[in-house]
């Protein structure tokens, strides 16, 4: 069964990769046939892996969430000062997120679809902000949750900047870090 599982994983990876590529280019109007052929499989096989177009989109989003979550874990945020941690965080999001721009702005992002997104992505950010407030690095008059939402807006803006070419990853990241930190520093 090892071979079987390996094949399954390989095909699944191809599907997710191809789907991401096609969605990034054609947006929501991409046909399942397009996605299937981009992944090198047939439409029927697509349905064997995902019962629904929405399920496929959801899986793509989930994959993105997982990757982002992994990169965040790699960043060892709790071990560095809050300001540096925020800077790292911004870079992680802007760098990794560019592969998933379509998702962040896409129609798949219906509220409540991915409860794990909060635990995996928002919680580290919130937690970091809480630490910053506690240790006096950040302003105490702002709710960590709302701050996280605002932070998300800035990240999306930075992704727009980079994906549209109006700014490079480094420039966009620095901009966000500078404005956000200055705006929220105690």
């Amino acid at each position: 069964m090892g071979k079987s599982a390996a094949l399954r994983d390989r095909v699944l990876g191809a599907i997710l990769t191809g789907a991401a590529a096609v969605m990034a280019q054609r947006g929501d109007s991409a046909t399942l046939e397009d996605i299937a052929s981009a992944a090198g499989v047939s439409r029927a096989t697509l349905y064997r892996y995902f019962p629904t177009r929405q399920a496929l989109l959801s899986a793509m989003t989930l994959a993105g969430i997982d990757e982002l979550s992994a990169r965040i874990a790699d960043a060892n945020l709790p071990t560095v000062p809050v300001e540096d941690a925020i800077a790292r965080l911004v870079r992680v999001f802007v760098t990794t997120g560019s592969k998933y721009v379509a998702l962040s702005q896409g129609s798949g992002t219906r509220s409540g679809d991915h409860p794990e997104a909060d635990a995996l992505l928002a919680e580290p950010v919130r937690s970091l902000f809480r630490r910053g407030i506690t240790d006096g690095t950040l302003r105490a008059d702002l709710d960590p949750q709302l701050l996280t939402d605002l932070f998300g807006g800035l990240i999306k803006a930075a992704l727009d900047l980079t994906s549209s070419g109006r700014a490079g990853v480094e420039e966009a990241s620095a901009l966000v870090v500078s404005v956000f930190l200055t705006g929220t520093r105690a």
Copy 2:
């Protein structure tokens, strides 16, 4: 022909209003049949006003842009100090924008679709930021254009907050104003 034109305008308004309502609730999955009946007209009439679903969406966006633009003009931004002007601007966007949340996040927002949006919405903001930099109110190390993009991200985040009920209009506005102003003040 006066009556005729009046009828046309009335029907058109009903369509745009109904479409906005239905899109806000059901998102992109709303059927043209849904939109038509919400507007109190038949599907055929819809097509008499807009040749395409995309055209209708586009018109909705355009109406939103016009309304926002009008409110911005009402705010007389050039006549008040930069900080007050920014506060007014945020309130205008958050208040008026809630009717068009679907559009700001929706799939209709394909890049390059609405060139007038830049002139009508972004330019006043950019111009305000330029004035702030010139008169020493805002930091001089930030490009007005990029600042405008960042500002947009914060506005969208605030709209998310209000539309999801996590914060009221006033709270969200105040939050954005506080963080943005602190973050960009000279």
Copy 3:
């Protein structure tokens, strides 16, 4: 609404006619797409008239039954001597039935599908046989119902003969009439 109904009838007729033609040629393997294009309509329209392939086949059968029934009524069987009536009947079946060979042998003829077939097609035959037995034209030792079934077998055989070209309509009819009459005459 007169126009509408007329159009509907015209399209429906085209569908049934085209379907009969295609089924006669390609048999059960005919695609709905084939049938649709043969009828000069789209596949979607087919589904607007018949919810299911089986429903279309059923309607074809019903149309055949109705036509046959009408021809039988035209033959005024009760007004002619039994022997002549049987001859007419055979000619009606063999002549008209050739348009519906596919149905008589086809997979659509699942038992119990068309209860009206008995009343419209078998009953006249049975009734004719009853009259023949009563007036002494036909043997009295045979059950009219079973005789009808046997008669049906002969008719199908004659249809096979004509459709395969092994015999003409006239020859096949005469053969059936001769054998059946001789075999059942008192």
Copy 4:
């Protein structure tokens, strides 16, 4: 290899038997999966024996033809008077044929599919009829070939009668024999 061949034959028999059973019950809509599991084998094995659904159906028909042919040979038709031979023939067909009703009426009976059917089944009948005509038992004005076709129609009708329960094997056979003989006797 003796063992192997024995296994092959056993599996093949199971397939044909199971297929016959399932086809008799579900008709043409039976799935290959159904047939395979009814035969106690996997779908893949089915394909190892028959490259195509049609091939399987064809093999079933052929098996029926062979069995019928054997029973006809057992009947020693040439050794008995024509009338008795016809009676035996009818009984053979009606008795044995009940196992293959599905085939005789099924969609697998496409013209020209089984050339051996003519030699194995129709020829003995034709030959018998020729003898009858020659020795003055049967009418001389009927073509043996056409007579055979008609005979086939009567046999199918009898099979319908027995399979539907409207008549027993004996009753149906007697009916066919009586009508056919009376109808064709010199």
